[in-house]
Structure formats: structure tokens, C-alpha cells
């Protein structure tokens, strides 16, 4: 007679519970890993739907962006590289503003409102800007850091992704012009 033979069998429910917990935990870990491994959105993927509440209380949602070319720029007042592209983005916006079919949106990531407003004033930015409340918009775009810019085509797909700051006005306008021509 061995010691293994003398061990009483474990009841069904504790065993089932333990397995269930283990499977649940592994599933969660797998899902988290999958999300973190996905990286930022890439060209051709459908752009996520979002609603931006601007600093002045205006709400911009999917209905306002339908059929338009949308430039979604993630920035922050503490982000030094964001300053490199701030002027070019504003100039580009001024070039296309009168057309009505090109929309610029600034999403302020993990920032304080006072500093963000001071930044917008300093760079004389006039296109709609608002905070990324609860970091929901950056999550849906799977954004990794600021600055990052996503250009969405008329079909609502991601057309271009720019990681880091734009280096010139021409870089921005060439991408938008390409979409306007297509």
C-alpha cells in the first residue's frame, strides 16, 4: 500500500473551480498580450469611431466626420517634439479650412487643461482641440506616444500614420492632397 493510494480524491467542484480560474486567468493574460502586441493602427484599417469634446464644449462625433478627410493629431503641452509640428499643422489647417471637407482635430493626451490652453494660445492653434478624457481615444487608436497623427480618408479608413512630428508643412499637405486627388 503506497501513500498515493491513501490520498482521498478531490471533489469535483473544487477541481472544476480551480481549472476555471486558471483558464480565465490565462485568457485574460492572452487578451492583454494580444492588445499590447497589436501596435498602432495601420493604413487600411477602419478608423475607430470617437467623440471629442473640445475645450470650448463643442462635441464632434462620427456624424460630423463622415465623408471627410480627417487629420487626428495627438499632442500634449509637455511634449517638446509636438512643438516642432504645431506651426505647420496650424498653417495646413488654414490652407484647407475653407474647403469644408478636410477636418483637423487635436487630441490633447494626458495633460492639464491650463497648460494645454496656454500651449494652444502660444502656437495660435484654431482648429478644434479637446482633452483625451479617460485616455479613451488614444486607446482606440492604440497610440503609443505623442506626437502621433492619423489621417483618415473619406471612406473612414486610416490612410496614413505619422509617428513623431511632421518635419515640414509640405509633408502634411502632400498627404492630404493625395487623398483629395484620389
Amino acid at each position: 500500500m503506497t501513500s498515493e493510494n491513501s490520498r482521498p480524491p478531490i471533489a469535483f467542484w473544487p477541481r472544476a473551480l480551480a481549472w476555471l480560474l486558471l483558464i480565465g486567468l490565462l485568457t485574460l493574460v492572452a487578451l492583454q498580450l494580444r492588445t499590447s502586441q497589436q501596435g498602432v493602427l495601420t493604413s487600411g484599417e477602419p478608423a475607430p469611431e470617437f467623440t471629442l469634446t473640445t475645450f470650448d464644449g463643442q462635441e464632434i462625433g462620427p456624424a460630423d466626420l463622415q465623408g471627410k478627410i480627417v487629420v487626428v493629431n495627438f499632442w500634449a503641452s509637455w511634449c517638446k517634439p509636438c512643438e516642432q509640428e504645431a506651426e505647420a499643422l496650424q498653417t495646413a489647417w488654414e490652407m484647407y479650412a475653407s474647403r469644408g471637407d478636410v477636418v483637423f482635430l487635436g487630441i490633447d493626451y494626458v495633460d492639464t487643461e491650463a497648460e494645454a490652453l496656454a500651449y494652444l494660445e502660444r502656437w495660435e492653434i484654431t482648429y478644434p482641440n479637446g482633452p483625451d478624457l479617460r485616455t479613451q481615444i488614444s486607446h482606440t487608436f492604440r497610440m503609443r506616444g505623442v506626437p502621433e497623427t492619423f489621417i483618415i480618408n473619406r471612406e473612414g479608413e486610416i490612410a496614413f500614420v505619422k509617428i513623431g512630428p511632421f518635419t515640414s508643412l509640405e509633408e502634411i499637405t502632400s498627404l492630404i492632397d493625395r487623398l483629395l486627388e484620389s
Partner: protein, 166 residues
Amino acid sequence: MFKISDQQTVIKIFGFALLLLVLVIPTSMAYAQGEDPPPTPHPDEINAIAENLYCPVCENIPLDVCGTAACAQWRQQIADLLTQGYSEQQIYDYFAEQYGDAVLAAPPARGINWIIYVLPPVAIFIAAALLLRSMRTARTATLTNRTQGAIGKEYIDQLEADLKNR
């Protein structure tokens, strides 16, 4: 050259000025007290809250020891909120509302966050149950072995005695 009437006028003016001073000074003091800006929060007070917050930009570094510009802004935000009379809990709520639950060192037990509160006690309970069971099994096995050992010795003694008697 002063005349009496002039002296009286001076006294009257002086008296009137004194009366004004007596009346105005306390009022102006009270006004000044009312206008005084609220005291600036002590850095310890700010850090006590900051140590329970994490900036998403610098992962796993509490706000009180984080050296980035974003964290400095957040600490200033805490100071501003404290100056405005926010309580500690209200500040945590404000940050969670603005930047999401992930910035809190102790996220609220809602949604998927429940797992971090439920899983450790359940795991400890299961581990304790398994340990207890193993200890019981080991004890039973030891007792069985001892008993078996005793019977074996008795049996051997009996056997030896029988052999001698032959």
C-alpha cells in the same frame, strides 16, 4: 501763529482722522483677510496624494518620484485642486475622470478591476486548502508507515522466536 480757533480746528481734524483710522483699519483688515489667497499646500501634502497616482506616460513610476514634465504638471494640478478645497478622495476621482482608472494605484473595484481584488484571496484560499490536504495525507502516510513498521518488527521477533524454538 496759531489762534485758539485754529487749534480747535486742528484738534477736530486730528480727532476725525483718528476716528476714521479706528473705523477703517479693522474693516480693511477684515477685507484683507477675506481676500487672502488660500495657503499653498505643503509639498508633503501633495506627495502624499501623488504617491497614489501613476502617470500613463511613465509606467510604473509613482507620481511623487516621477521626474518628467508631465508628472510635474500633474503635481501642480494636485496643488491647485488642494488650494481649491478638494479633498484627497475628490482629487483621486478627478484624476480618474480625466485620465482613466489606470492612473490610480488602487483602481476602484468595478469592471475587470474586480479580478485584482478577488483573485488573490481565492488563490490563497485554494493554496491553503491544497497545503492542508497535503499535510493531512503526509501525516496519514507517516502513521501508516509507523504502524506497518511496528507490525513488521513484531512479526520478525515472533518469526525469530519460532525459528529458535524449532
